[in-house]
Amino acid sequence: MNKKIKNIFVEGPITPSSIAKSIENHQTKSMIGAHNIFLGQVRADIIGKKKIIAIEYSAQIEISNQLCHEIREAAFLKYDLTCMHIYHSIGKVKAGEICFFVFVSSSHRSPVFQSLEKIVNEIKDRLPIFGKEIFDDKTYQWKVNN
């Protein structure tokens, strides 16, 4: 458990090409048989007459990275996973862009299915990340996770 704490935050959206790069990096790991990827995308929700055009994320970075590290290490202990990669946006992410990326790999498919939803839910529940939903009329509201 002395692994270095990773920084999960990336400035702005997570791009499809960076996701492709991450997948590609696993093609040399020839004991992997199954990958499972969750992507959170900013929805253009309509509230009343206003439409969300972006979310601006802020976070208590140190606590978020520390808790994510704990979630990661616990998942490696519990599930037979080869790799795990977690990224979350900080700053502005427009509707349609990706803000959250969780990528698990294993030799077989059961561990990736068993673990991914739990990791995603824990990250959403436990990490001090705050979303400010920006409307098309430049007003905003604070995002609430359900």
């Binding site: 979350h88 001090p128 990340i129 705050f130 604070w142």
Partner: protein, 77 residues
């Protein structure tokens, strides 16, 4: 004792600031919170957790750290 306070998300609006340093003594996190609620009455309309030196603490815990963060409801993902 100097305490660096940081306010996150909507709490920056409730307090009108993102951070400040205060020089006061409190025995518990709860006592600090009582003081903040008096200083910023709008905090009463908010749910938040308090972290001390990067660890989220309960109100009964002793105040021993010098970095305190007020964290509104989490909405990552």
């Amino acid at each position: 004792m100097e305490i660096k306070l940081r306010y996150y998300g909507q709490l920056q609006e409730a307090t009108g600031k993102s951070e400040e340093i205060i020089s006061k003594h409190f025995s518990t996190i709860g006592q600090l919170n009582d003081y903040l609620m008096k200083s910023y009455p709008k905090l009463e309309n908010h749910n938040y957790k308090i972290a001390q030196n990067n660890i989220i603490e309960s109100y009964n815990n002793p105040l021993i750290g010098n970095r305190i963060d007020l964290l509104p409801p989490f909405s990552g993902g």
